[in-house]
Amino acid sequence: MNADTGLVFNRSALLTLGVELELQLIDRRTGDLTRGASDLIALVSKKSHPGEIKPEITESMLEICTSVHRSFGPVVAELQQLRDILVAGADRLDIEVAGGGAHPFQRWYDRQIYDRPRFRHVAGLYGYLAKQFTVFGQHVHVGCENGTQALRLLHQLSSYIPQFIALAAASPYFQGVDTSYDCSRLNSVYAFPLSGRAPFLTDWPAFERFFAKLKALGVVESMKDFYWDIRPKPEFGTIEVRVCDTPLTVERAAVLAAYIQSICRMLLEHPEPLDSEDIYLTYNYNRFQACRFGLEGQVIDGKTGASRALHEEVIATLDACRPFARELESGDALDELERWVRTNGNDARWQRETFQRRHSMAELLLESADRWRGSPAQASTEPYATLAG
């Protein structure tokens, strides 16, 4: 390992799981984003809890992170525990916490940057982009034993990225309009210079050389400067999938994490060939389809040229990776995932239906906050298949 670049890949237990969720803080009266991260964090830090509750770039957002787990059950339990602590704290401060990939109508110029050196640096560098970046993602960490294994898993996982985007999509509204995308959040991420996919490097020394060159050129200072869809996280010993919008409930977040973990296990046992960068020929196109049309997006298989809808793609993948999920004790999670795909679709669909029912983005937000608390959702009854047909 090269000590100069600071890119020592710390070994992790294989396929261990960690989830980070960026959350929005909402004014109970207007549904607008409100400032309260530092107060809420100060309040909940008095209670002992697993995982972490951390500030994010603006005062209207914060992040919860689970500890490292091996399977779905403990992840969902810990996320529920973190959620309950947050909700109890937020109640004392009269604010709401909500999931969702973007705030539907917040005005980015009203955002206050959280007072920390790194955040001030980012705000100074990216200007309005930093404030417009008040979008909320779910990051899933999967443990790897070494850097090369991590990179190989990262590239194999890339063909599943459109599925993750479509399943998690929860940002149809942005800056007060229906963007027509299911996931508009990734469009905001795309504005950053070092976003998109990681370079096609499949062994760790090559990656270290790549990083050292960019660092010497002054393009990056640390791995944090990359906003890639999946990026290696050497200090944790993980790869980090960053394309998911924060779902509206912690349960959904845990299910998505378990799905990613099961696919990783499948890929480790039955690796897909990484002989050519051609695996990325259709990447941007498929990614766009997933952002724009969600589970109805049509993706193209780069090898066969076959095209099919993402909801079909998910069902096929579910069938393939179910045995691996059972080994990871995540079978329930995959059953739940299949149920959504066959019935209600993604959160973006619920958001659009709720907006059509309430005719108000503020009310949409407040109902989202209700869902985050775990109150029974006004679930759509229409099966997804009929819409797809």
């Binding site: 004014d27 400032r35 309260g36 107060d39 109640d91 401060l93 009203d110 108000s360 009310e363």
Partner: protein, 408 residues
């Protein structure tokens, strides 16, 4: 030559024109305050009102024109009604249920203020009943100043929300307690005890019932008109006017009725109609007019009649509020520092306190004059100093919009 087409001299102005002239002055002075002095806009409105009032005295002294005081007073009351309703809307009484320590904090700061101001007034040989009334009224923070400054700075956060909540609560205590004291005064003068509770009970229960009715009507109609802003404002003005007029006609407390009406609207709003209702512009106009009018008609002749007790009140009140709210801050879920900043936000008093005194004077003129003598100067000081401490508190807590807050 027949000049009968010309108006007769002296000119017969409609009395409402004074309000329009004042409004014009106030708009310009508000902008002046923000742009050149970098102080809250309301100080500009107050300055405009003061100038206008002084001009009025001059005209009166020169026997040219009489200021239509009654029209001005009436306009101010209506503006105050709109403000109280809007403050009520911002107050979430559900919050008190979810965080009972807030109520503790609120009761403590008001109780301390009452007790110590009462003792100090007694030390200045002010009669017990007048001292108690002064103490009761000085519990209250000005909803008008708090609403105006938080709106102007577009502030958001715990200091903002808690200042608004504690303001609404201490204003309610002040109304209730001063009513009880007035009833007590009547018992003392007439020597009968049986109606001691009857009057306050009528006043409080009646005002709350009227408020609840107004809130239901508001929600019903505003839910029907949907998202048209002009219609929303019209509904608001109509309901405020109806509640205000009914409270006056029924000899209830318009102050309590309107504050409670706003709060009930928020409490009864299961459908979350408020989230899409925006009456901000109308309440902004009401605030501007309220400050300008209150400064224009303030009775400057009694300003320095009791300057020493007034100064003492300002200091004792500040100490009590700061001590109580800071000390209870950790219990109520915020840091000591933010508790202190919230307490700074509670400093403002305004002519709303004087309107409370006005309600007193109607029932007991002598008592009214005694309380007014102390309160006028306190209010004059605290609406200026209080507006500034509130602004400082919101900026120090990072809750005011970072850039261009003043230009908003």
């Amino acid at each position: 030559m027949d000049l009968s087409f010309l108006p007769e001299w002296p000119l017969a102005w409609p009395t409402a024109m004074a309000v329009a002239v004042l409004a014009l002055l106030a708009a310009a002075a508000g902008e002046f305050a923000v742009r050149w002095l970098r102080v809250p806009r309301l100080l500009g409105y107050l300055a405009a009102g003061t100038l206008f009032g002084a001009g009025g005295y001059l005209l009166q002294w020169l026997k040219i024109e009489q200021l239509p005081i009654r029209t001005l007073q009436f306009s101010m009351s209506f503006a105050a009604a709109v403000i109280l309703f809007d403050v009520g809307l911002r107050v979430s009484f559900g919050w008190v249920r979810r965080n009972p320590a807030l109520l503790g904090s609120s009761v403590l700061e008001s109780a301390l203020t009452f007790a110590f101001v009462y003792m100090v007034m007694q030390a200045f040989d002010i009669a017990p009943l007048a001292a108690a009334l002064i103490a009761a009224i000085s519990m209250s923070t000005s909803p008008a100043v708090v609403l105006s400054v938080t709106r102007e700075l577009r502030s958001q956060g715990q200091v903002t929300e808690r200042t608004l909540l504690l303001t609404a609560l201490n204003s309610i205590y002040a109304v209730v307690l001063s009513t009880l004291l007035l009833a007590w005064a009547r018992v003392q003068t007439r020597g009968v005890l049986d109606d001691f509770l009857l009057h306050p009970a009528y006043l409080i229960v009646g005002s709350l019932a009227l408020a609840a009715l107004g809130a239901r009507v508001f929600l019903l109609v505003v839910g029907f008109v949907g998202r048209d802003r002009a219609a929303q404002v019209m509904v608001m003005l109509a309901v405020v006017w109806i509640v205000f007029a009914s409270a006056t006609a029924l000899k209830l407390s318009p102050l309590l009725a309107l504050l409670a009406c706003g709060a009930f609207v928020r409490t009864f709003d299961e459908q979350r109609l408020l989230a899409r209702t925006d009456i901000g512009l109308a309440s902004g106009v009401a605030l501007a007019l309220f400050f300008a009018l209150s400064a224009a008609i303030v009775d400057g002749t009694v300003l320095f009649d009791a300057w020493l007790p007034a100064l003492a009140l300002v200091i004792v009140r500040a100490i009590c509020k700061i001590a109580a709210v800071s000390a209870t801050a950790p219990l109520a879920g915020i840091t000591l520092r933010k508790g202190f900043l919230t307490a700074l936000g509670l400093m403002p008093m305004s002519a709303l306190a004087l309107m409370l005194t006005h309600e007193v004077s109607l029932l007991n003129p002598q008592l009214g004059a005694q309380t007014l003598a102390v309160l006028v100067l306190s209010v004059v000081i605290l609406q200026i100093v209080g507006a500034l401490t509130l602004m400082v508190a919101l900026k120090a807590s990072d809750e005011a919009r970072a850039d261009g807050a003043h230009r908003a």
